[in-house]
Chain length 225, copies 2
DNA sequence: GAAAAAAAATGAAAATTCTGGTAGTAGAAG
DNA sequence: CTTCTACTACCAGAATTTTCATTTTTTTTC
């Protein structure tokens, strides 16, 4: 875990760096907004500790600049000013949390843990298989940059395979997994959807064995290229 | 955006609920830890406002229980006690932020915005999508300089989409997020609002696929120009 | 190896589901 | 009282899912 400490007061900066180093974080220091920006353009950090009052470029401006650039690193603001307006300004500029000076190092540490813990699990995984990729959040499917327009059942079918590696599934198993108990259709239905999927996949140049048939057993994903 | 307020003091609870409702959030109230847990097992929320001191199950215990179950909803803790230990305990239990009573409602609102923003995909206070922009603080919506007059539900609907990028949401999911459970209407209602929104968008020249239909799955924002 | 049997693929029609539009009611707001 | 908003119901056209008859492929058996 790598943390950038942006704080112009050398004594405070040094104290924070030392404390966080003891907590086994990798820490780097910057003493003004501009040099912090320079570092951030080149290196990646897991979290930024950002003082509001800074020479060259203040914390809120830096924060805005980062967010505008699409960087979503957790930012913990440090502020000496305790007025409501400044807190709100900081949070609206895109900071994730703030701490009012003077603060205790124990609290700093707790807030850092809270922010880092949060960052980890927020990304939605995109499922891929060779050149094929499927994004469950947007329901988009691509093969080699080209988007496929799948029907709902075809989409679910493909997602099901992608979530299960190379496992073989019989048509009966597929029906059990993708259809609700109330109305399970004939196995012929699965055949039909498999066919639809294969057709659409081939139409964008996917190899014909992407979904392969295992005679007598069922279907599975073909070898990953 | 749906918020659960867990606070045993009825007066405070009511005040918060009323204030947040005015801010166009869908709000539900719970008055003890156990009933909060029951609600959370069944419904989905975008944020929890959680008092530390509660009958049945205290806030920290509830927080732990949620995190252990893998739920990563943003949690904002409310505490009357101002000692460092309790703050740290709350944050380590998995809370994302805390607020010490008594607090100003303006600050509560700012922190809620900050937490919700982190969960979603947007980092700027003004949400935009191509030529479309929506300012949550003023509730103004513009497309290409032209202002749209949206009804409250249409506004919420649009904000919800704007906060979630290209994610697909079924009508049922939309109902869960934008309506309080006491009065969840039929799915036809969502259709009606989608329609209203599309009409108003088109009337100012927005592309008709700005809110696009994903057959059988739901709705989402169309490709960003 | 070739015929028979089993399994899978194909094509196309029937049944079902989904969506967008119209219309109308109830209730709140002004 | 009028206007705006939220909600429902219903319908037709479109898209999808399902079924079924037929052909092709693979396996089994002799």
């Amino acid at each position: 875990m790598k943390i950038l400490v942006v704080e112009d007061d050398e004594m405070i900066n040094d104290a924070i760096v030392e404390y966080l180093s003891d907590q086994h974080y990798a820490v780097e220091a910057a003493y003004d907004g501009k040099s912090a920006w320079d570092l951030l353009e080149v290196f990646t950090y897991d979290l930024i500790l950002l003082d509001v009052m800074l020479p060259e470029m203040d914390g809120i401006a830096l924060c805005r600049k980062l967010r505008n650039k699409g960087m979503d690193i957790p930012i913990l603001m440090l502020t000496a000013r305790d007025t409501l307006d400044n807190k709100i300004e900081g949070l609206d500029a895109g900071a994730d949390d703030y701490l009012v000076k003077p603060f205790e190092l124990g609290e700093l540490s707790a807030r850092i843990r809270a922010l880092l813990r949060r960052g980890g699990s927020t990304t939605t995984p995109v499922l891929t298989w060779g050149k094929l990729s499927l994004d469950p959040s947007t329901c988009e499917v691509f093969f080699d940059e080209k988007e496929l327009a799948l029907s709902p059942k075809e989409y679910k079918l493909l997602e099901f395979f992608l979530r299960n590696g190379r496992r073989v599934f019989s048509r009966a198993q597929i029906l059990e997994h993708l259809w609700s108990f109330e109305q399970v259709p004939e196995e012929a239905t699965v055949k039909a959807h498999i066919r639809g999927l294969r057709q659409k996949l081939e139409s964008v140049g996917a190899p014909s064995n992407l979904i392969e048939t295992v005679y007598g057993l069922g279907y599975r994903l073909g070898e990953e290229p």
